[in-house]
């Protein structure tokens, strides 16, 4: 396996991981007002592929945030208890948006690496042309 295909494979794994992260972030954001929703977090880990000798990135199991759910006072809400409160979600939009921006930045960096490896290998093939 040439170094370029290694680089392309690793960048593709990075792109996939960041896209998965962004998907879970958008799930969190769209469920920000769902009562009882706990935000999902995705861990990243390095997966060393001994066959090709590269450290790809892999998304681990999705876990739920154990943070406290927001208590909202609204006695008219169908889910409100006798004190008039019901439990909302524990999504903090600010955190999700900051995380989404970071995911985008990392995605772009991986895309740039992919594009560069592609350019380098096509430059190599140009040698065959006269």
């Amino acid at each position: 396996m040439s170094d370029f295909s290694k680089a392309l494979g690793v960048s593709a794994s990075g792109l996939q991981a960041q896209a998965t992260r962004l998907r879970h972030l958008s799930e969190n954001i769209s469920n920000a007002d769902t009562p009882g929703y706990r935000r999902k977090t995705v861990p990243f880990r390095t997966e060393f592929d001994a066959g090709t000798d590269v450290s790809k990135v892999e998304v681990g199991r999705v876990s739920l945030d154990d943070g406290e759910l927001e208590r909202i006072f609204d006695p008219s809400h169908p889910m409100a208890d006798e004190t008039g409160y019901f439990e909302g979600s524990n999504v903090n939009l600010l955190i999700e948006l900051a995380d989404a921006r970071e995911a985008q930045r990392s995605y772009e960096a991986n895309l740039k690496m992919f594009e560069q490896a592609r350019q380098m290998s096509s430059g190599l093939l140009q040698l065959l042309r006269r």
Partner: protein
């Protein structure tokens, strides 16, 4: 006479080095958000090349595997860990540094290909084909 041209071997070794460096940088960028990942980098081509210059009878190569071994063997022997930048989660990848390194690798690759091409043109002219 035309079987062992040093300029081709040097340009080849330089291009291989650039490709390997690109692969390592792609791994760093893909793992930019993996907790505990340590960034790695290859020493510069000039460093490796000059350290082998002393032995003139040996074919110059960025590592032993280039000449006699298979060109796909491990590059882990030469890669050095870079811990100059550390995030709280133990990740030492700095995207900005990686971008600079990637640009370096690309320029080195283009330079080596340009040298290779120009030497080819010299050979072609000597054969009388333009």
């Amino acid at each position: 006479m035309f079987q062992n041209l040093t300029v081709f071997k040097t340009a080849y070794a330089m291009a291989v080095h650039a490709g390997q460096r690109q692969a390592i940088i792609a791994q760093n960028v893909a793992n930019a958000d993996t907790p505990g990942f340590v960034s790695r980098d290859l020493p510069s081509f000039q460093e490796i090349y000059s350290s082998r210059m002393g032995d003139q009878t040996m074919l110059r190569a960025t590592r032993v595997g280039h000449v006699n071994g298979s060109p796909t063997s491990s590059i882990d022997g030469l890669a050095q860990e870079d811990r100059s930048f550390a995030a709280p989660d133990g990740n030492t990848v700095s995207l900005e540094t990686e971008m600079v390194r990637a640009t370096d690798a690309k320029r080195q690759h283009e330079r080596s290909l340009a040298i290779y091409k120009s030497a080819m043109n010299v050979l072609r002219s000597s054969l009388g084909r333009q």
